[in-house]
């Protein structure tokens, strides 16, 4: 963004005062842009407390990483679980998200038994777990294949996350994949808004100047 401003200012040989105004505007812009972004990355919510009263718990999407791939007539959904974290077997749910998709009950391996004096005995998974989900499609794949998975887990150190639901887009073939959220409607608005603002700014700035257009 700043690149667009700098050559323009240099090429038009702006006098000192103009340059200083331009520099101030640029600085303002940078502060505005970098300020909130830098703050957001500095300390995510799960790591902050009051002053340095921080906790070391992982964000749920780091503690539990989910991916999915298509293998013949099944989808294999895999969770990689961080050390010191676990997922409850009975909290897993898999549902069809695509309109043409039919799925059978997921097959989950037997978990390890975890006994808590206040919670009873439950099956949990640590390290990793794969659910095998048989599926069939009514329209032979006119829609992208989407599956909605729900899972819930905790940290051994004493923190539980509410159930997490994600839409996964399994891909054909080996390992990789994408889990993704539905797109945000505000994204396009923000982009168009930003573009419009720049266009407007450009119009304001070029007033009185000739465009170097071919005749």
């Amino acid at each position: 963004m700043s690149r667009g401003w700098r050559p323009y200012a240099a090429a038009t040989k702006v006098p000192a005062m103009k340059r200083s105004v331009g520099a101030v505007s640029l600085a303002l812009l940078l502060v505005f842009l970098l300020g909130p972004a830098g703050g957001a990355q500095a300390k995510p919510w799960w790591m902050r407390g009051i002053d340095s009263n921080e906790t070391d718990f992982l964000p749920p999407d780091v503690a539990f990483r989910v991916s999915a791939r298509i293998d013949g007539n099944v989808v294999k959904v895999r969770w990689v679980i961080a050390d010191g974290y676990y997922l409850y077997r009975q909290k897993f749910e898999v549902r069809a998200e695509s309109p043409d998709l039919l799925i059978a009950a997921p097959q989950l391996p037997t978990g390890t038994l975890k006994t808590d004096p206040y919670m009873g005995t439950q099956q949990v998974y640590t390290q990793q777990v794969e659910a095998i989900v048989p599926y069939s499609r009514i329209d032979a794949g006119a829609h992208p294949l989407q599956i909605k998975v729900t899972y819930q887990g905790c940290a051994e150190a004493g923190l539980c996350y509410p159930p997490i639901t994600k839409v996964v887009f399994p891909t054909v073939g080996s390992a990789t994949v994408v889990t993704s959220e539905p797109p945000y409607p505000w994204e396009s608005t923000a982009i168009i808004g930003g573009a419009a603002a720049f266009l407007l700014a450009g119009l304001v700035l070029r007033k009185g100047r000739k465009l170097d257009m071919p005749v």
Binding site: V14, M17, K18, V21, G22, V24, S25, L26, L28, L33, P36, G39, A40, K43, P44, W45, W46, R48, G49, I50, D51, S52, N53, T55, D56, F57, P59, D61, E93, D116, Y118, M119, T150, C154, G158, L159, C160, Y161, P162, P163, I164, T165, K166, V167, E181, Y184, W186, T189, A190, G193, G194, A197, F198, L200, A201, G202, V204, L205, K207, G208
Partner: protein, 229 residues
Amino acid sequence: MKTSGLRYLAGALVVLLGMWAGLKFHAVHRASEATVAVPAGVASAPDPKENVALEAAAPPVVPARLPDFSLTDMSGKSTSIAEWSGKSLVINFWATWCAPCRREIPLLKTLSADWAGRDLTVIGVAVDYVDKVRQFAEQFKIEYPVLIGEQDALEVAAKFGMASPAFPFTVFTDRRGEVVALFVGELHRPQADFILSEVQNLNQERIALPEARRAIAAGLEAMAAKKAG
């Protein structure tokens, strides 16, 4: 010359305005998304978009003072937190489906009994269904006040900077209603005693709030290091 300068400024202002509008729109949209979320602990889960939006947004801030809120108590009566104003509070956010939350209950009961009549009150805020909480409270003989809510309790959690919460977490305030500590995760007796001793120091004006917060942070860190070592 002067007008060109003004044009630059006007241009910069338009751009800033555009970006501000974009961010504002994002924030508003995020807020409306959050209201769609289902209460924690139910079979159908909160909207995953909520998590992602939060990670992308600026970190929520723990309030300096106890925010005002009302939730229903065990008998279904709407109760304001202001009912306990003038007292130091230990506000424990929990849910019946959460194992570490359950494990904390005996400690909270003990704290409540130990501090009875000494201007300190333990309050539970259950982000859960009323029936489940009532049944649990009966089974575990919880005698301290418990406020209950679903979406409304999640909104209260958000007021403490925990908009996408994990449970349990516990808020400590002094008698002036200043938030002294927010402890995320399972609370144990040594940590609780330590934080409460600092709350007492504050109440008796032996220490100032920033000093107390720093002392708590350092003390908790030392305890964690000792445990790890």
